[in-house]
Amino acid sequence: MSGHSSYTPRTGIERWLDARLPIIRLGHDAAVSYPVPRNLNYFWTFGGILMFMLVAQIVTGIVLAMHYTPMSSVAFSSVEHIMRDVNYGWLMRYLHANGASMFFIAVYIHIFRGLYYGSYKAPREVLWILGVVIFLLMMATAFMGYVLPWGQMSFWGATVITNLFSALPLIGETIVTFLWGGYSVDNPTLNRFFSLHYLLPFMIFGVVILHVWALHHVGQNNPTGVEVKNVAKDTVPFTPYATIKDLFAMVCFIFVFSWFVFYMPNFMGHADNYIPANPAVTPLHIVPEWYFLPFYAILRAVPDKLGGVLAMGGAIVVLAFLPWIDSSKVRSMTYRPIARQFFWMFVVVCIGLGWLGAKPAEGGYVIASQILTTLYFGFFVALFVIGLFERPKALPTSIADSVLGAMKGGSGARLATATAAEPNAKG
């Protein structure tokens, strides 16, 4: 939807700058006049929320890095120093630690939104794959961040996760030694993880720019999954319509975020991480952060080391192939009576796996994990098969039609249109 630019510089300075570096034009086209489908619901506000969370993590992270010491002998006490001695240090750390969790809540909602409304289908495959790349980078970042406070969970989480690579035949052990910079997780490991934990968020930022670029090139999907046919009728300008909606959702999200930070800041953490790392004692029950639990359950469901690692990796990588796995032309699950039921089952399976990931790996829990792991991958097979025979419900002819239909004959004249609303939207 990269139409021609509607920006007209008003002052002399703007005209002068526009002829040299059209940066205001870029901002105007991307965030003011950019047309968005008029039927977007609140699930479309999570992109903006994710952007906010990334910036929040970077800002609080840079502040923490000013007081934190990445050396195994003092890392733990430097985090306690942040908590007790640094002005508002407790706030910065709780914002950062809970911010990681909120970031993942938002990204999971964002991903399931894409799954439900078929946002991965042509022409949005690259947009979707860039999203999967961001998700992987986020996981790497959060994992390494969790190692930094150098508590028991930091240390043993790092040990278990880096050892995943030892499952690779031949080169596995060498890779692990090179990751550690030693013969076990130790000071060199902490140093390099800190360096990478600082770097990766900026790489995420770079991929986010590509993600948004791809988005602005192909345009947003919408709850009907029907492409925009008539820009004037089907869309509204980003500002003020999407801007205000995104901001409103963001404020609501920040309420929830603040509630965790101020009232239950350790709810999503693990008590064992307040015990300094001890290489001689493995805690009896190791669990990763909640956002890794479904994948951890898949890892443990497979009784073979390499098999478990491959299943876990596959569970993430399979997402990238979704555009070619799903055989249906219809995007939105709203119009797919059979696939929709499978979608909700998939949501339940993912939550179930998350619950199992926190349980000890024994008896019935293992069997349940194996069943749910099969169902997890089964969903992707089902998407391929269902698309071959499913009869979708009638699609609305256009976005405008679906909105007017929903208003039950209400006057279409009340709808702002892109052209009418654009010139002086401030009024």
Binding site: I161, W180, A280, T282, P303
Partner: protein, 188 residues
């Protein structure tokens, strides 16, 4: 117009082409060598550094205080080493199993030093994902085979440190060590 183009292409291309080809190859070759010269140090710096390697010097350990049935944990190269003084029962159990039926088949005799069968010296690192199995100190759960139990994902090792049940693929590793006298070992 057409003629000028024609002559230029015709007259100038061959000699210029060869010179450019040469530059292309030479620059490419220099580039590949340069890239290698940069990548090697960039990757190599990740390996254990001299200090870490030096900290892995051999250690001596006196076995006399370890009574029969007891075990101790040592640290060598940042890794835990288990030393267990096995009971007669534990040795017999370890030798009674059919080696061929094991996941990582290895006879107990091959895992101890000749003449010192009662002492088992192992890496205390689960071959699954690296947790420390319990069972060395008194009172710790020893698993179903009188050896070790890994709490992380439930691997059971027997009284020879061999994997018997659970996700771990291999037996507990054997560190390099030798008896320097009847009751002393040197690890490393």
């Amino acid at each position: 117009m057409a003629q000028t183009t024609h002559t230029t292409t015709h007259g100038a291309t061959p000699p210029e082409g060869t010179r450019r080809d040469f530059l292309m190859l030479a620059t490419g070759a220099a580039g590949v060598v340069g890239l290698g010269a940069v990548v090697v140090p960039l990757v190599s710096q990740l390996a254990p550094d001299a200090q870490t390697v030096a900290a892995g010097a051999p250690i001596d350990f006196d076995l006399t205080p370890v009574a029969e049935g007891q075990g101790v944990k040592l640290v060598w190269r940042g890794q835990i080493i288990f030393v267990r003084h096995r009971t007669k029962k534990e040795i017999d159990e370890a030798r009674a199993v059919n080696v061929a039926s094991l996941r990582d088949p290895q006879a107990d005799q091959a895992r101890v030093k000749q003449g010192h069968e009662q002492y088992l010296v192992l890496y205390g690192k689960c071959t699954h994902l690296g947790c420390i199995p319990s069972g060395t100190a008194a009172g710790e759960p020893k698993g179903e085979f009188d050896g070790w139990y890994c709490p992380c994902h439930g691997s059971h090792y027997d009284s020879s440190g061999r994997i018997r049940k659970g996700p771990a693929p291999l037996n507990l590793g054997l560190p390099p060590y030798a008896f320097t006298s009847d009751t002393k070992i040197r690890i490393g």
